[in-house]
Symmetry: C2
Subunit: 260 residues, 2 copies
């Protein structure tokens, strides 16, 4: 059953996080290359869960080194051939499998245009791994459940590690992630026990807003995606400000809102 | 009734577009200032409908002058105080009323940090108009229906005019927009007659995906916002690629998809 595979992979999260942090030499190599370039723009690309992780990268890279990071439009480069200037940019491409065709194509074009290209993937030997100049293995292991769980967490952690490394705080961030892994290992059994009654109450929900701003926006997006793809709930992620600018009008006592 | 006010404002769209294009001197002033700076990054900010228009700006400014435009995180600067470098950036702030507090605050900080700041608003004398270095009046006139219609169209047109002006094609884009205004004036009565039977069939829809990629993504976002705020449909905008990366699993014969 898919649910069981997904649960098994959720349980692997602490181990996956620890495995990522242990990759000292890979982390240092990417961090050194980034520091040498001091990118004016960091272009994050990925789809689905990886694009949600990119939302977090905007804050991690903005808050620590103060870089402007964006979830870049893949279409603009790959399909429209826009004359975008890539020198001065670093590209961080996120993909579980490393096989997403338009992400691979985007990385090839950005690299040819002079960007520093970095692949974050579970499959360093993939097309994406080969297309990028540098690879940081996500080290989450294969995601069989398709609804990616440990990969999402390792994508966030990898972005935090790169942001930390850019300001000479790699060890500190690494230590923090190890602590998160320990806390997760402690909390997961209790969470699993607590979650069933809440889930039952939501069994007939057909639509939902998931609200989170800033650092929490990535979480809101990933929760909404998981609700949609695993529970068939039409869940839309919004910031609290987005909610006020229009969608608020849709709310009534039977329209659930999940606020982070 | 709100619906009647909204319809009246939709009918003003051709007039509003023509009014915008007639502002030769304002357009030329902003275009000259932009050309002098040749920004490496254009930061678009706004909420709701204005943020949807910003999605179009990413393509207009990417396709014509080849600039990297992004919908910037307002939180990162205004609430987190991230040490973002604003020199080398142009900011285009979009707001119907010019009174959105965090947009005004963002513009003040970006301007103090060295960005060229431009306000696109219907209210040039507003807080936003005063906070920005340059103002391009949207000239749509007040939006009484709240669900913004003519403002959205004028925001798209203003971004197209600025993108055109950046590559010396202001007259050509202006002529195109005048043609669009004529086509709109011709088509609106026929559209109004054709729309009722389609709307009736959707009266009991509670959720929907709206699909559009690239240049059409802004349209998909704005349609979804309008469905949510005026019809209380939980409509989520997605690119076709987003749809495949997860949400596809939610579809069944009773889950409507509006594809552009």
């Amino acid at each position: 059953m898919t649910g069981e595979v997904m649960l098994a992979e959720i349980r692997e999260q602490p181990l996956a996080l620890r495995r990522l942090v242990e990759q000292r030499s890979e982390l240092a190599a990417v961090a050194t290359a980034l520091a040498r370039r001091t990118p004016r723009i960091v272009r994050l690309v990925g789809h689905g869960t990886s694009d949600n992780a990119a939302s977090y990268g905007i804050y991690a890279l903005g808050l620590l080194p103060g870089w402007t990071a964006l979830r870049d439009s893949i279409s603009l480069t790959v399909y429209y051939g826009a004359p975008i200037e890539f020198r001065g940019s670093a590209v961080i491409a996120l993909s579980q499998s490393g096989r997403t065709p338009d992400v691979v194509e985007y990385v090839s074009r950005a690299r040819a245009g002079g960007a520093l290209t970095i692949a974050l993937t579970n499959e360093p030997a993939s097309e994406l791994g080969r297309a990028a100049e540098l690879v940081l293995p996500l080290a989450a292991g294969p995601e069989l459940a398709v609804a990616a769980t440990k990969t999402y967490l390792n994508e966030l952690a990898a972005l935090a590690l790169l942001a930390g490394a850019a300001v000479g705080r790699l060890d500190e961030v690494g230590e923090g992630i190890r602590r998160v892994a320990d806390l997760l290992a402690d909390s997961l059994p209790r969470l699993e026990a607590a979650v069933s009654p809440v889930a039952a109450a939501c069994a007939f929900v057909g639509r939902m807003f998931v609200i989170g701003r800033g650092l929490e926006y990535a979480t809101a997006r990933e929760i909404a995606l998981k609700l949609t793809e695993t529970c068939r709930v039409a869940a839309e992620p919004l910031t609290a400000t987005d909610l006020v600018h229009g969608p608020l009008a849709a709310l009534d006592p039977l329209f659930p809102v999940w606020a982070i």
